[in-house]
Symmetry: C2
Subunit: 168 residues, 2 copies
Amino acid sequence: MPDTADKAISEFVEQMGLIIQSEGLPRIAGHIVGLMIMHEGPFSLTQLAERLSVSRASISTNTRLLEDLGVIVRHAKPGDRQDYFRLGQQPYARILRGVVRRMRRARDVIESTRDALPEGMADAQERLQELDAFYEALTESFLNVIDAWDAETQGSTKQKRDGVRPSP
Amino acid sequence: MPDTADKAISEFVEQMGLIIQSEGLPRIAGHIVGLMIMHEGPFSLTQLAERLSVSRASISTNTRLLEDLGVIVRHAKPGDRQDYFRLGQQPYARILRGVVRRMRRARDVIESTRDALPEGMADAQERLQELDAFYEALTESFLNVIDAWDAETQGSTKQKRDGVRPSP
DNA sequence: TAGTTTGTTCAGTCAAGACTGAACAAACTA
DNA sequence: TAGTTTGTTCAGTCTTGACTGAACAAACTA
């Protein structure tokens, strides 16, 4: 009953669009990733456009975006002018790195605000400090996950992966 | 030089709008939180509207939203008909809980897709498994941060806070 | 040479949802 | 009673940015 399978696949591709969208990326980027999870590929730009019923312009823009994030990789087949795409290494960890970058920017804002704040506002300083500590804990936590992922997926060496980074 | 301070404050409020927006919440919600970090308050709905130069309707909607998330709390002053708002306990952890909820929903999608997928697609199954494991690690990691936060901020008891949850 | 194919870019359209103004109900005051 | 004040809700506007179609450059083919 391949009908059920097809339904499940397109449903998943659709949902991945929404999930990725909630991470602040375009929906089509999610569709591409979803499709590549379902089928290894590789896919040409035209194939992606047809399969997702979307303009080649959109595919071009979004493959570029995902490529910049390191989520997918582009490669050429010898004797074929088309570009082909497939998932890169640790695609999810790549997305996470983007989140870490966002948090670093947020912490910059906090820091410069703290610097500019006058003496009198001790309580505001305290709350800013609390917010910054929160971001710090979160960043630390993310990096743990990324590290663990790198070690597990990549290294056949399978080095330390105890879930906690060594305390500073 | 209170001018510099005012500038820093409104700059921060503005930036918090953008930061919160990148988390998928309305910009004004971020402005409210930002202002409350700068000044403890409490603020009435009218005060917030005036201070942020925004309609009372928007404030009403967004305070409601933040209240539902548990980020701010509403309370009454005796002999005053107005509602007053201020930051709640562990406001940032509350926002994080929302993220955890989103991830749980994503994992549900993954699971039902795996169930519906036919035998033949073993490699797709494998990639789905990988994605699910990633979400699992991330969720675990978030909950650690939330737990640690709860323990540190709230409990004077300061119970176990070793950075890792007990394995199931 | 002219004609394809492929990927990119850009101006324009469209949709989602944030925000507003106005109308409203509830609780108060004079 | 009529008139305020306060918070909510809803229809409508407006902004943001995703997506498209068309034009284009580059690399190929005949």
